[in-house]
Structure formats: C-alpha cells, structure tokens
Amino acid sequence: MTKEFDALIVGAGGSGLYAALEASDAARTVSGGAKPRTAVLSKLFPMRSHTGAAQGGIGAALGNVEEDRPEWHAFDTVKGGDYLVDQGAAVLLAEDAIRAVYDLENRGLAFSRTPDGKIDQRRFGGHTRNFGEGPVRRSCYAADRTGHQILQTLYQQCIKNGVEFFDEFHVLDVIIEGRRCCGVSAIELATGEVHLFKAKAVLFATGGFGRMFRVTSNAHANTGDGPAVLARRGVPLQDMEFFQFHPTGIRGLGILITEAVRGEGGILRNRRGERFMERYAHTLLDLAPRDMISRAILSEIKAGNGMRGDGTIDDWVLLDTTHLGRDVLEKKLPDITGFSRTYLGIDPVEAPIPVQPTAHYAMGGIPTDIDGRVIADAAGNVYEGLYAAGECACVSVHGANRLGTNSLVDLVVFGRRSGRHMADFVRKADFVALPADAVEPALVEVARLTDGARGPHGNIIRGEMETVMMEKVGIFRNDADLALAVERLKELRGRYREVRVQDGSRRFNTDLLGLLELGNLLDLSYLTATAARERTESRGAHARDDHPARDDARWLRHSLAWLTDGRVSTDSRPVDVSTWAPKPRAY
C-alpha cells in the first residue's frame, strides 16, 4: 500500500521533530494553499528517541552569566574538531544557536534559571572565552535532562501542529531516480507489512550508530539505519573514520556520565589519586575536549595507572565528585547521581565514580550542505528532495571531534534549516512517479531473512562485530589492526548473507528488526574501518599509533566513502578553512 506526503521525515529525535515542525508550518503553504502534508515515521515511539538521553546542555553564547560571543563558540567548535570543521557552517551554528535556545524556551522548554530568572549556563569541555583563555559558561541546561526536555518540547509542539506520525515503522530502503529522491519503503512492526511512502522530499534523521561497538553510551536503537540505507543506494558517507569515545562512561556498562559533572567541578584521578589531566591539558584540565581526555585515560591505563593497574584495555579511572557536595549533585546532576546509585551502588556524594571511555558519537555520516541537502559527489553536487540532519548527517560542524553540547545545537539548528528548505522545496516541486518495482528490494530482503531456511545466529555475528570494532577500531588505531578489522568485517558481512530469523511470526517481530539493524551496523562498521585505515594521520578522535601527527598537507580533507558491490571506494572533499588558519591544537 502506498502512502503519499509532501514532506516525509524518517526519525523522531530532535532534528526530525524540529524539521517536522518547520515543514508542517501553516505559514509555508504548498501550491493549493494547504499546509504541507508532513509525516514522521520512526521505529520507536517518538518520546523514546535517543535525543532524550542527552544530559548536560545545549551550547549558545547567550552571555547570561559571563561575557560570551558566538565567534568564540564558532572558534572553539573549529579547534575542537581539529580543523576538519567547515568554518562557515560553524559560524552559522554558533550564531543560530542563540536564536534556537530562545525559541525552545519560548516553546516551553524548562531550562534551569539564574537568580535573575534568565536561562542558566554552565561550563563544558572545550568551550572557552576569548579564543582559548579559559573555560566559559555557555551550556544552557535543564538540570541533567536537557535532551529529554528538548525531545518532549518538540514532540508536544508537533502534536499541536497536527503532524502525522507512523510509530514503529522501520525504514528499509530509499527510492532514488537519478539524483531525485521520491520516497522510502518501511516495515510496520505491528503487522510485518512493507509500506511504500511516496514523497516530494525525504529527510533522514535517524541518529547515531554507536551500537557498532561493544561498550557504548548509545541506545539499542542507534543502528545507523539512515546512513546504511543511503549507502546501499550509492550515496557516499563522509568522515566515517571519526567516531567519538566519551571519556566518562560507567565502568563496564558504558552508560554516560555527562561532561557537566566536570563542568560543575568533577575531577578525574588515577590510582595514585593524581589529577592526571594536569599533564595533558594545562589550561583546561578536566574540561579539555573529549578526544584528548579519552586518550589521556587510555594512556594512564597503559602506563599502569588505572585502578587495577594491569595496563589492560578494560581497566578504569575515577571521576571524583565528593568535594561538590550533596546540593550540587542532587539539584544540578540528579539523574547522574541516580545512575551511580542504581548501577554501581555508589553514592557520588561520598565516593568517586569508576569510569572508562565509551563509544558515544558519530562525527561522520551523510554529507549535507547547510540546508540539509544530501551531497552526491566530491564536486559537492546535491540530490533533489533528499535531506539529512542530526547525528546521521555530516555538515560538517563537528569535524574530527565534537564538542560537548554541540550535538543538541546541531540538531535544532540544522533540523530547523532542513525543515524550512524542505517546506520551500515541496511548495514548488511535483511528485515523481515511483518506479513499478520500487518496493521489490525491500520485499526480497525481508523474504530472505524470513524464508524459514536455517542460517547462522545474528547474535553471534553481532557480538563478533562489536568486539572487533572495540578492539581494532577504537581510541588508538594502527594499520595492522585496521587491516585485520576490514578483513573480519568482510567475512562477517558474508556470513550475514546467510543469517535467518529465529522468530517465524509476522506481527511484532522484533527479531527481524534486530537482524535488519545488524545488517546496517555491519555496513557502517565496514565503511568506518576502511576509512580509518585510509587516513594515515592523527586528527581529533582518529588517533593512529603509526601516524601520530596531524598531516594538513595531505589530509585536511573530508573523506567520502561509497559502498559498491561489497567494496568500498573513496574520494575526498575540501574543508572550508576560510576564517581561521589551522594551528597546532593545544589546551
């Protein structure tokens, strides 16, 4: 059965909902005068989206508690991203962040307040005053539930705007004719039925794919469905080698302990009780960018300074909050305090939290321009009617390493811009007829997975993928490990072609969804490992033991990777460095 919408959004996190809000705006009428028919399809109920797990805040130079300027925010973003950030986009991000935060407040977001009733702001890693002089209070927050508040506010506003939702629809394929997108196919969890959605414009806002790794802060649902579906249809993915490990995941579990803990004064310590960041980042200390702190933790561990002291990769360090006091922890960081009590039996008021780096954020993804239009080639040509925003997209405002709070900024700024551009586009554009066999590839894949034949268990393949990504494509990398990872992933992708469901039912078949997600993760892992092997330098989150220096002459380029017939081919695009010349990166 085919459904038809002017604007179709895949994914109901912050960027998807913001785009839906803009696209469905009554003021942006289509030719007939009616407002654009807008639908959101999401494999989760919208309120379950992972935006809701974002804790610490959204960065914007409001200057509510001390002097701040958007150009400082833009510069921090560029330097934080180790100069792989497109600088025009970063300036736009920092300037529009201010409007976005006020807009969210006006729409009802429950920000924490200053004594004079303004939006309160706190420190976060890599955010500085006057181009690096010292930390600045830039992160606007709602306790440590900022993402939860953004998700709720945007969903509530979409309800108000009458946006149509298709909950628990999992995207299977995108239909692209030449360079024109005309719809998607998706499977409905409740019935097992495959639906075609015809649309003038489609936005992918499917979030991240941290589930490639064994230890991750990401939700089970973060399997990169959008980028994988597009990659299989010939769309290149950009900067896939850059994946952020957040320094403070709960030991063994990967659950995130927000950087806001360090913003409020928390200190990382090794087994000797030393504040080891003094040796790695003289000025910003525990508020250095995440890539540097994750490497510092691993270096401490390798030197035998982890808590167990045996130098193995699963050793850990401590995040000390005992000097902050009960009031700060329970009022400003209530969820974190709760996580620690629930999962560790540790009260952070009294004892430090054991932490280790956890796979957290994909800087790379679907390449787009500043209006969310998907880029098709190294020359920067775009697809018509195809958009991406949020973590699945790569504008790039995060470059080689994202700063804390900039993910929420990214999704509201570029979710909104994409939604507006889509609304304008659908007003002028006509529907494109879907090819007669548009739904076939999706049906064939579902039929294969559910044909009742015997095949290997997806769980085993998944476990092997997570382990190889964690051990060989993690914080420190080298050619031998990456070569091995690429070979292992090729083999796992081969085995995946034989995999079959364990659950033979049609309705609510979560087992089938799990396998479809695994297929997506395998494709993205393969692209990530291949791109990581190609980039023979160290930059931001991509640290190569065998190429420890940044190499601007050769590698100040965005990588592009295509997945064609099981092989990866690569190319590159220039980086916009028009405002700040690349310099060595020290904090």
Binding site: L44, F45, M47, R48, S49, H50, G52, A53, R99, V101, Y102, E105, N106, R107, G108, A110, F111, S112, R113, T114, P115, D116, G117, K118, I119, A142, A143, R145, H148, Q149, Q152, T153, Q156, Q157, K160, A190, A219, H220, A221, L253, I255, L256, D335, G338, F339, T342, Y343, H457, N459, V501, Q502, D503, G504, S505, R506, R507, F508, N509, T510, D511
Partner: protein, 238 residues
C-alpha cells in the same frame, strides 16, 4: 547466580491467552533485568518480544511488571528482586493496556490520554526574541513533573482503572501539572474540560500506587492533589 525468569508469553498468531514459560539463567547479580531478557532472547528463544531502547532508565520503553511490581527492566538489577539462588522472577506486561505480544502492550490509550490534556505550553503572548523570565522558585514549582518519561508504570499500577477504564490516568495528570504550575503557561482554561471531570483529576482516590512505582520518583499523587486544588481555585472554591 542462578535465577529463573517466569515470563508471560503471548503470540497473537498462535495463542488464545497468555501463558507463563520458565527460562533458567546464570547471571551476574548486578546485571539488569533487561540484560537478562536480552540474554534469553539471544541464547534461548529469539521469539521473545519486548521493547527497549536506551537501556538506562530515560527512554521509558521497558516498563513491565517484575516480581509483582511495575518497574523499568533496565533500571532493575537482578540482586534487587532475586531473593537468593534459584529465585523465580515473574515477568509480566503492564496492566490496563491490551497485550500485543509477550511483554509488549498497546500504548495507544495511554498516549491518547496524554495528548488529551494538551501537553504543550499554551501562551500566545509575544516575546522580545529572548527568554521569558522565570524565577528559580517558579522553575522549582514544576520541576518534579518534568522528570516524567511516559513509561506507563503508573498507568498499570493505579487501582482506579479496575473500576473506571475511562480514567485519564496519573501520567496524563502529571503532564498537566507540569504546565499548570509553569509560570509561563496560560492554558488552565483549555485543560479544564479534561481535568475537572469525573474521569479527570477527580477520579484519583489517593491510593499512592503510582507514586510508589514511579521509576523517576515523581510524587505523582501529590501532583494530582495540587491539580485538584488548582481546579477549585479556578472555580472560585476555597
């Protein structure tokens, strides 16, 4: 430690009614019940069906009845509910909502109730392009209610539904309170028809089961009672 998960199973394609099945498991006592369910699905029976996403108690996907009490599976550790070796843990879907399959319930009624209270800020006054000013005291007045993740635990625990299936329910009332006590909101009048109704706030009988099970520790009943007082205030009663 060894435990047995006694899971309520129901497949609409083959079963006429739910039945229990036992799954023995050797598991670390500090693992969560969600970890346990994922292991059963991965190692013993791939057809076991449940929802989950964030895995740490903020997305609200995996509320279910564990050992007789509504909890989030991901936020409940085995050691909290297993009273020793070979403990049998009953795992059931939420009550008061139709079972779709195994531990999955149809949440439409729950979300319809939520939407009925107009869960968005109602205030058409123009702003000057900056934030509306709100004091820390005003912000604190509705802080508790902002924690709600719409998991449905309270909806399942509330005994009022046993006799009144049309009750709007505790979660919707918490969402209403989140806006009623927000100094920026002006939507009380628009919400009165749902709140000031026998199936609205007045249906609450102060059983406090919602408050007891809330995985976010929201004082649900307190929020409902404050809403009742606000309704009286608006209607000019003492």
């Amino acid at each position: 430690m060894r435990i047995v998960l006694r899971i309520s199973r129901y497949n609409p394609e083959t079963d006429t009614a739910p039945h229990d099945e036992d799954y023995p498991l050797d598991i670390d006592p500090t693992a969560s019940l969600l970890d346990a369910l994922i292991r059963v699905k991965g190692e013993q029976d791939g057809s076991l069906s449940f929802r989950r996403s964030c895995g740490h108690g903020v997305c609200g996907s995996d509320a279910m009845v564990i050992a007789g009490v509504e909890r989030l599976a991901c936020k409940t550790l085995v050691r909290e509910v297993a009273d020793g070796e070979d403990a049998v843990l009953a795992i059931q879907p939420l009550k008061h909502l139709p079972v779709q399959r195994d531990l999955m319930v149809d949440q439409r009624k729950f979300f319809d109730s939520y939407r009925s209270i107009k869960p968005f800020l109602i205030n058409n006054d123009a702003t000057d392009g900056r934030e509306r000013i709100q004091s820390q005291k005003e912000r604190a007045a509705f802080d508790d209610a902002t924690s709600c993740i719409l998991c449905g635990a309270c909806f399942s625990a509330c005994p009022v539904f046993e006799k009144n299936a049309s009750y709007v329910g505790p979660a919707a009332l918490v969402s209403a309170a989140r806006f009623l006590f927000d100094s920026r909101d002006k939507g009380m009048a628009q919400r009165m028809n749902v709140l000031d109704d026998p199936n609205g706030a007045w249906a609450c009988e102060n059983h406090f089961d919602c408050t007891r099970v809330c995985p976010r520790e929201i004082k649900v009943t307190k929020n409902i009672n404050a809403t009742k007082r606000e309704i009286d205030k608006v209607k000019g009663k003492k």
